[in-house]
């Protein structure tokens, strides 16, 4: 999350010391000492003039204070920008413009500003709170960005004004004049006179950093209110979240919107008493959602690539010297994991084994236009393997839930080495009690050489809603951050789809309960306990695997923040310090059971 740095707050009862005497000096405002002095004193209304400023030699009416503050702000920004660009403006101001009576601050400012700004520029003031933004007639494409760097910003203490000033947008290509083209790359903020004259350029100062923190706090407070069944408070907080979220940009904004949306749904459901387990309809919605977007998620960021690669590595090692292999994939999706494995097996020492792949899919999965998507995938994989001269067989199994599987459906054969693969499939089973134990029992029955499991590294299955919310907020913020840096290549649509995919997960974690809440992520440690108690022993994912996947992520991954780590034999991929997904491998503890 990158927070913008400016921190200007305005409050109506503090004076504004400035130094307008010499126009060639940029008006970077106040000395901190005068500010400090100003802070201690009180304003007394003496003849309509502000007493404090009168002490300094300026005559400003208290009633005009707000106005003066605003204008000073504008002036300062203009001069600040002018100072950075060139001194043309300053020389203009110093040599050609006539300044009248600086002690009458109000009119002096008027004259200064009218020198600088074109006549059609009008700063309209809007009555809003300090964190709300309002863009009347503002071009939609612009975005509020950082204002500028102010070295003394910590001491800058402008009063809050009933009117807000919007200033400086990171102007995008669409709403630009030709002169500004070259400024665009530097992310230069825009001087008011280059606002398009048709728009009513209102200037708002945005303190993104503060609102960012506030946004997080409000979200968490809202979740806690829901936790305590205090829906009235929750709703009140919700109304604040909207504008706060709007003031952010980039990853933070998207995350906030998704979470706010999910919270709103949850509140609604709780209020109206709509049972959160409204039958299978919402769970199938989520399912088809995830099926569709899973594919795009694969392409736009390295998470799935990491998952497939590490799982395949483990399977490859387990299948050393085996001549007949059978892979059971708990979630075949588009089958993108398997070409790599087939190719690696084709190239291994001693030649490839004969491969059998059992792909398990859900109903309504994949492309609705295809009559039998599973067959399509099988065809593709078979064609691929055929090209590589690898013996290959595919069978597809369609089940509503993994718990419905039995060994009959898998059609096991003698003499085969079996690998079971599950990428983001197991956590769903936790929604119905007993399912995961049943499936693990089935896995045992199959007698696999290796079981590869990839899951999200997070605990989104705690019993307390507020804790879950907290966890999820941090987790998905990190994921969205990483997506942001990925950029999604040339096609922004993939990025958008990935975000929607994640958004649907967020919705599920926050707004659903009971059988509907299928995104029940758990940490590797929790899964470890389950596997150990089900009779499995961990397989250490070797250092060669670690090296290779690190190479993969650094060479092919987009974005510098990805980190591959090894943790007790499991490999995790994370963004900077936060691990996000983890791959682990398991084998049976004893081979004596028939």
């Amino acid at each position: 999350m990158d927070y913008n740095k400016k921190n200007i707050r305005k409050r109506p009862d503090r004076p504004l010391p400035t130094n307008p005497t010499n126009a060639t000096n940029p008006v970077y405002s106040c000395s901190s000492s005068s500010l400090m002095a100003a802070k201690e004193s009180k304003i007394r209304d003496a003849g309509g003039m502000d007493e404090l400023l009168a002490d300094l030699g300026y005559e400003v009416r208290s009633s005009d204070m707000a106005d003066v503050a605003q204008k000073l702000e504008q002036l300062e920004m203009v001069m600040g920008s002018a100072h950075q660009e060139d001194s043309g403006l300053l020389s203009l101001l110093s040599t050609e413009s006539v300044h009248y009576n600086p002690s009458d601050l109000s009119s002096w400012l008027e004259s200064m500003l009218s020198e600088i700004n074109p006549p059609e520029f009008s700063s309209s003031t809007i009555t809003t709170t300090a964190t709300t933004l309002d863009f009347p007639n503002f071009p939609k494409s612009t975005q509020i960005g950082q204002i500028y760097d102010e070295p003394s910003s910590s001491n800058y203490d402008l009063s809050a004004i009933p009117g807000e000033i919007v200033y400086g947008e990171r102007v995008k290509k669409k709403a630009k004049h030709e002169e500004e083209e070259e400024e665009e790359e530097e992310e230069h903020f825009v001087v008011p006179d280059s606002c398009s004259s048709s728009t009513n350029c209102s200037i708002v100062v945005v303190d993104s950093q503060e609102t960012g923190v506030r946004l997080v706090h409000t979200l968490i407070a809202c979740s806690q209110a829901i936790q305590q069944d205090n829906l009235a408070v929750a709703e009140a907080l919700m109304s604040q979240i909207g504008p706060l979220a709007g003031s952010q940009s980039g990853a933070m904004k998207k995350v906030a919107i998704y979470f706010a949306d999910a919270l709103a749904s949850r509140i609604y459901k709780l209020k109206t008493g709509t049972s959160t387990s409204t039958s299978t309809s919402s769970s199938t919605n989520h399912l088809s959602f995830s099926q569709i977007f899973h594919h795009n998620f694969y392409r736009s960021c390295p998470y799935l690539q990491f998952a497939h690669f590490t799982a395949n590595q483990a399977i490859l090692e387990a299948f050393q010297a085996k001549s007949k292999v059978h892979i059971i994939d708990f979630g075949i999706r588009q089958g993108t994991q398997w070409p790599q494995l087939i190719q690696a097996l084709a190239l291994r020492e001693g030649g490839p084994p004969t491969i059998r792949l059992t792909g398990i899919a859900r109903p309504d999965s994949g492309n609705p236009a295809d009559s039998d998507p599973l067959r399509e995938i099988g065809w593709k994989l078979a064609g691929f393997a055929d090209n590589l001269r690898v013996g290959f067989e595919f069978q597809g199994v369609v089940v509503q839930s993994l718990a419905d599987l039995d060994s009959e459906a898998l059609r096991l054969r003698e003499g085969e080495s079996v690998a079971v693969n599950s990428v983001f499939e197991l956590h769903e089973l936790l929604a119905s009690p007993g399912s995961v134990e049943k499936v693990l029992g089935l896995v045992r029955e199959v007698r696999p050489t290796v079981v590869t499991v990839v899951e999200q590294e997070a605990n989104h299955n705690g019993p307390v809603f507020a804790d879950r919310f907290n966890e999820a907020l941090h987790y998905y913020s990190t994921v969205f951050d990483s997506l942001e840096s990925c950029g999604g290549g040339s096609d922004g649509q993939d990025l958008l789809m990935s975000e929607m995919y994640l958004g649907s997960q967020i919705y599920n974690v926050v707004a659903c309960e009971g059988a509907d809440r299928v995104e029940r992520h758990e940490t590797t440690a929790q899964w470890k306990t389950r596997f150990l108690s089900a009779g499995f022993a961990p397989v250490h994912l070797g250092s060669s695997g670690f090296k290779q996947v690190s190479g993969l992520v650094s060479l092919f991954g987009n974005g510098d923040g990805y980190r591959v780590e090894e943790n007790n034999g499991c490999l995790t991929l994370g963004w900077y310090t936060r691990p996000l997904i983890a791959t682990s491998a398991w084998q049976l503890t004893s081979n004596k059971k028939p």
Binding site: Q343, L347, D491, L555
Partner: protein
């Protein structure tokens, strides 16, 4: 390089394809690509996979890789899609591993990704229009032609 001897014999590189091939073998990827634009003969020659194979696998000589790569579209495509971009990154990439180690890994990784790429394109004809670019998460957008 033209030598005139008694006005009759000229030396033209295109008449000595063995020599030409020897020279082309020593070129790097960019020069090779540029060379393919010289004339039809050069284009034909530089499109031969052997050159690109040498570029892909400089240190490691793989026994069984050739038919596999050929089946998936050839070394030239492998280079363009995977190895080339990765090598470009290798230049500005400093790590704890040696250059050779990294290059070995790179070849293995390239093959993996290439297989995904090829797999995705297998079904591309049947899908609606948009060719899938499975390697989109690579830094540079991959040209799917």
């Amino acid at each position: 390089m033209v030598k005139k001897q008694r006005g009759l014999s000229l030396f033209c590189i295109n008449d000595n394809q063995d020599l030409l091939i020897e020279i082309l073998t020593r070129l790097d990827d960019r020069t090779l690509a540029v060379a393919s634009t010289v004339c039809k003969l050069w284009r034909e020659l530089t499109r031969q996979d052997s050159f690109w194979e040498a570029l892909c696998f400089r240190h490691v000589s793989p026994p069984r890789v050739r038919p596999v790569v050929a089946a998936m579209g050839g070394f030239r495509r492998l280079y363009r899609v995977c190895v080339g971009p990765a090598l470009a990154r290798l230049v500005r990439f400093d790590s704890v591993w040696t250059r050779e180690e990294l290059e070995t890994q790179l070849q293995r990784l390239s093959l993996s990704l290439f297989s995904v790429y090829y797999y995705e394109r297998l079904g591309a004809r049947r899908e609606d229009g948009r060719a899938t670019a499975s390697l989109m998460f690579l830094g540079e957008p991959v040209n799917v032609k």
